[in-house]
């Protein structure tokens, strides 16, 4: 199935491909006084689903644009499959991009949009047609080939943008917040779709580099992720590593809920679902008072003010609690307990937090 889909790329990957597909070395980019990317080192392995996660203005999109070639770094080096491409134009790099606003050509049909990359590279017409049909099958949109982009829904446009990039069988696929414009339900559907598509093309070795500010999206989809803050990478690792062992206070706050306490000169974090909350006065743990209650349907978030200083957010599933019960508990005295192995030491806040 997959081998039929993208035969050219498979042929290409049959030659020995280096394990590292994308390498950034000390890459820096400033716009006037604003440093967008401040010395980023990064190695993304072949076939990986790698996410650049961070708030807006953290440098993740600029990093993606540097890899695509839309921006030139002020200093540093960018390698694709071991080849220095720092000075190369976008059309001289074996990467393709899925844009946040899709950037579909409004005057072309869907088929012409998808065929564009093949056309400018001089692939014969019949071959072009065949590959466009195949990729539209993979994107599960075989019946819209003759329509114009404006006649499609947001979700369909998203798939076309993806197909238009994938049809070229690039070594690396760059995705710039591709699901940002979709509503929640569609977004969750597309998250699963994207993973399916990556699996389907993974035998031919397409590396996905994905930019998002949505931590949940990053945790669900990535093999590894890099958390960006103010132009630097704060932490790099698998979703579980980053979520369970946040290295800095920023990461703890941005990926999940910031639950940082200071006890006996030790700063540490504990995830909200790892904290147990007891209403009885005689149970163990630290005493405190519920300051705020947020009912979220499946679960309820409690913000607890601790007597010995600091605040913790606690998440409880609403097994037998109704929204009324939950909201009533505001102001009640509770005791919080957690296991030492669920706490993780924080680095001292660095210069950039």
């Amino acid at each position: 199935m997959t081998t039929q889909t993208l035969p050219e790329a498979q042929a290409a990957s049959a030659t020995i491909s280096p394990a590292v597909d994308v390498r950034l070395l000390g890459v820096r980019k400033a716009y006037g006084d604003v440093v967008a990317v401040d010395g980023v080192d990064l190695e993304i392995e072949a076939g990986e689903f790698f996410t650049l996660l961070g708030p807006s203005g953290s440098g993740k999109t600029t990093t993606l644009r540097l890899i695509a070639g839309f921006e030139r770094p002020d200093s540093g080096r960018i390698e694709l499959s071991g080849v220095d491409v720092t000075g190369r134009a976008p059309y001289e790099r074996d990467v393709n991009t899925v844009f946040q606003d899709y950037a579909l050509f409004p005057h072309m049909t869907v088929a012409d949009n998808v065929a564009y990359g093949l056309r400018v590279k001089g692939v014969p017409r019949a071959e072009r047609r065949r590959r466009v049909e195949q990729i539209l099958q993979v994107a599960r949109l075989p019946n819209v080939a003759d329509r114009k982009p404006i006649q499609l829904s947001g979700g369909q446009r998203q798939r076309i943008a993806l197909a238009r990039a994938l049809v070229n069988a690039p070594k690396v696929l760059l995705l710039d917040e591709p699901l940002g414009a979709l509503d929640l339900k569609l977004r969750q559907e597309m998250q699963i779709e994207l993973k399916r598509i990556q699996r389907e093309v993974s035998e031919v070795g397409i590396t996905f580099v994905y930019v998002t500010h949505d931590q949940e999206e990053a945790l669900t989809m990535s093999d590894r992720l890099a958390v960006f803050n103010e132009g630097r990478i704060e932490q790099l690792g698998t979703p579980a590593e980053v979520y369970e062992h946040p290295a800095t206070e920023f990461v703890a706050g941005f990926v999940g809920i910031s639950n940082v306490l200071e006890r006996d000169g030790r700063r540490f974090t504990v995830r909200p679902e790892k904290v147990q909350m007891h209403f009885g006065a005689n149970d163990g743990g630290e005493p405190g008072r519920i300051r705020d209650v947020v009912y979220v349907g499946m679960f309820t978030r409690y913000v607890v003010e601790l007597d010995s200083g600091g605040e913790l957010t606690v998440v409880r599933q609403n097994l037998e609690t109704s929204s009324a019960d939950a909201l009533e508990s505001r102001g009640r005295r509770v005791r919080l307990e957690w296991r030492p192995e669920h706490t993780f030491d924080m680095e001292r806040p660095g210069g950039h937090e």
């Binding site: 695509a68 070639g69 839309f70 134009a89 976008p90 059309y91 990467v95 393709n96 991009t97 844009f99 946040q100 606003d101 950037a103 579909l104 050509f105 409004p106 005057h107 564009y116 990359g117 056309r119 400018v120 590279k121 238009r164 990039a165 070229n168």
Partner: protein
Amino acid sequence: METRAARISLSIWTLAVVLFLWLPLVLICVYAFNSSNIQSWPIAGFTTKWFSSAWHDQDARDALVLSLKAAGLATVVAIALGTAAAAAVSRFRFFGRDAITFLLVLPIALPGVVTGIALNSFFGNNPVHHFNPGLLTIVIGHATFCIVIVYNNVVARLRRTQTSLTEASMDLGADGWQTFRFVTLPVVSTALVAGALLAFALSFDEVIVTTFTAGAQNTLPIWILGNLRLGQQLPQVNVVVFFVIVMTVIPVAIAARLTRDTGILRRR
């Protein structure tokens, strides 16, 4: 009730303005069919004989040919230069960009008589080349304001176009020329055509700049003016005026349709 009264009075007012603008034009078109050669209202009778006599007037024909040539060439020059300028201004950030934008648009605000005198003096007396008045000088004169028309239309379209389109094209492997050919040009094409039609219409009925650049030659508007001044062939003049109105209204109407969504329709 108030809103209804307001709506009615507003309609009447609008109608009055439209009549104010169009009544003289309609009247002269009606006179073109007047069977008497003396203009008086109501017209004496209906005829189309002035059309054939105007058509067979050699001077009028020469003027028409010159006008069409001048407007056509000025439009071609405007398309080439106006599009290039629009692409440069909207694509690149460079030193003096705002100044260049200003310099490009300014000629349309300058009084025609100033442009005319300046060009006349330049053509006759500059250190590089002496231009004899003729088609070339008319085309150059008209191009000074035609370029702005095309530029304005194209730049407005480019401003509304996603910048990611050109990036997407390059990303998919197209170099600068392919991107221009396959993406930029098709995206601006309707704005370009609209600009060209407007430029053609403006050039076709231009009088002031032409007066200073045409020398002894007559374009159609100059021919009209000359005959009016001498009181000659007034029925034929009416026919030619009718023709000029049609030649102006049609391209402007098409241009307005093409740029409906951008709403860029500027006249001097």
